[in-house]
């Protein structure tokens, strides 16, 4: 920024105008909605707020949301590391196709992501009759919601790790192997420490989406109160019942999660010099 000379600096009026537009736009679209969540949540006082987030259905929604994240995040983290290992460390045919396929879930509408599992495991689905015979419930139950969440958070870890591991190359791993380390030792002692920040970054993003997902989970959940409502779905139910204070109270927990994610993400970017995801 300091290298800018007079000739490459925008005139003062342009700087003021553009900065003003930026502040207004971000204020209107980001900060006002965020602030409104907390104002509405506390509008009826602290007691109503506390009651709304400790009420039984809210508690079970929080537990379910945490459960889903606990199932999905580790699975996608393991997948992300494995996929990054084979894509970044080896050369093989069809690699760019594989990369594109891993990104696929980001391009799919959350509603369609949920629908695909209804077509597979729903009552009229491909495996519907077989599941009914064996009394296995997937749709409108935790397994279906976990699958839908895994689908929408699928690429997060992999796409953080792949560019980083490609940039790091294989030299350190070769050195470790030539000094007699086994494959696992090489991975645990050489590769893993090198990618730990990017891995953490991917996990944070994956977790935020897993806990906040609405559309995909909504399709497969069945909205059974106290059973298959995650926190975002619980917010919807309360909001549609015109219980606005409780809806915003639960939404404020999710907002805090979002803010915490942003703060952690910014910290990692600063700490690891991971300048966004393009470094």
């Amino acid at each position: 920024m300091s290298v800018q000379t007079r000739s490459t600096q925008d005139p003062l009026w342009a700087r003021l105008l553009l900065t003003g537009v930026t502040l207004t736009f971000l204020g209107l679209f980001l900060f006002v909605p965020l602030a409104s969540v907390f104002v509405e949540a506390f509008r009826k006082g602290l007691a109503v707020y506390a009651a709304a987030i400790t009420e039984e259905n809210a508690r079970s929604a929080i537990v379910l949301t945490l459960t889903l994240a606990a199932i999905c995040v580790p699975l996608n983290a393991v997948f992300g590391v494995t996929a990054a290992w084979c894509i970044a460390k080896f050369s093989f045919k069809g690699k760019s196709l594989l990369l594109a396929l891993i990104d696929l879930p980001f391009a799919v509408s959350p509603v369609v992501s949920g629908l695909v599992y209804v077509l597979m495991f729903g009552a009229n689905g491909l495996f519907g009759a077989w599941l009914r015979q064996h009394h296995i419930q997937i749709i409108f139950a935790v397994p279906g919601m976990a699958l839908a969440t895994i689908f929408v958070t699928f690429p997060f870890v992999a796409r953080e790790l792949i560019p980083l591991m490609q940039a790091q190359g294989n030299d350190q791993e070769y050195a470790a192997l030539s000094l007699g380390a086994t494959g696992w030792q090489t991975f645990l002692r050489v590769t893993l420490p090198n990618i730990k920040w990017a891995l953490f970054y991917g996990i944070i993003l994956c977790n935020a989406r897993a806990m906040g997902e609405f559309g995909a989970v909504s399709v497969v959940s069945g909205h059974i109160r106290g059973e298959t409502n995650t926190l975002p779905l619980h917010v919807e139910v309360l909001y549609n019942e015109y219980n606005s204070a409780a809806a915003f109270a639960c939404a404020s927990i999710l907002s805090l999660l979002g803010l915490l994610t942003l703060a952690t993400k910014t910290f990692i970017e600063w700490r690891a010099g991971l300048r966004r995801r393009n470094s």
Binding site: V21, F79, C86, A107, V108, N170, S244
Partner: protein, 276 residues
């Protein structure tokens, strides 16, 4: 490259590739393929019949029209915001920069009820607009606002790295040759930003057409008027119209794939990866 073994002494190729392909196949590829298999079971006439109803066509017009409009707005404002965040120095810039990711980090349902609360006729902004007869929430304008909200970071985050790497020397050269600041921007800077701008806007569009959570609260969801395609898919599912839902889902998937191909092509052109 020989047939199977890649030339590397690192272990674990077979295991990692095998696991990757199995997991990808089971979780993503097979379920998506099933949509097309089920849709093709309807036959060509069945698909056309399911898609060409007035209600579906109205939802498509609304979804794609508003998504395009939201992208145009994001394109303009995203360019200004990226420019200000990269080029200008002012207190709180780092904070603003980090907050651009807020739409990524906030759960869509939260954004949905927050925007609805603000723009409802009794909300903070809605109550200002109501006396002038401007209706935002429960009208197409509300959907537009939700789509602008979700799309903004895509444009800003795609432009920022390109702007950061931009050689100031080029602008100095233009200025020293007598170009005004405006001319320099139009003729030197903008052409080099354009590919990233198109990529970011396409990413935002791809997200907007499938967006559900942040839109469904503010939309009003009147069939034929404020009903978006993702909601219509859910409605059809709830009415046990699996064929209609599948046909619509297949259509949306085809559009997603086409957009993904376009984005991949654009990204290879400008070598910007991973902004999603």
């Amino acid at each position: 490259m020989q047939t199977k073994r890649p030339r590397s002494i690192l272990p674990g190729f077979g295991l990692s590739l095998g696991f990757t392909l199995t997991y990808l196949g089971l979780i993503v590829l097979f379920p998506l393929l099933l949509v097309f298999i089920k849709a093709s079971g309807l036959g060509w006439s069945g698909i056309v019949h399911a898609i060409s109803t007035d209600r579906v066509l109205a939802a498509c017009r609304l979804t794609f029209g508003l998504s395009a409009l939201a992208c145009v707005l994001n394109c303009g404002f995203g360019l200004i915001i990226a420019w200000v965040l990269v080029r200008y120095n002012f207190p709180g810039r780092g904070f603003l920069d980090a907050s651009v990711d807020l739409p990524f980090a906030m759960p869509t349902a939260v954004a949905g009820i927050a925007l609805t609360g603000i723009y409802a006729p009794n909300g903070w902004i809605g109550s200002w607009l109501a006396p002038y007869g401007i209706k935002v929430a429960f009208a197409p304008t509300g959907i537009l606002i939700a789509l602008v909200f979700t799309g903004l970071p895509f444009v800003v985050r795609t432009l920022q790295p390109v702007l950061e790497d931009f050689e100031i020397a080029q602008e100095e050269a233009a200025a020293s040759l007598g170009a005004t600041r405006g001319q320099t921007f139009r003729r030197v800077v903008f052409p080099q930003l354009a590919p990233a701008l198109v990529t970011g806007t396409t990413l935002a569009f791809a997200r907007a057409v499938g967006e559900y959570g942040s839109v469904v609260f503010i939309a009003g969801n009147m069939p034929g008027k404020t009903e978006i395609v993702p909601l219509l898919i859910i409605t059809k599912l709830e009415q046990f119209d699996y064929q209609g839902a599948t046909a619509l889902a297949a259509l949306m998937l085809l559009i997603s794939f086409a957009l993904l191909l376009l984005i991949n092509f654009l990204q290879r052109k400008i070598l910007v990866r991973n902004v999603l």
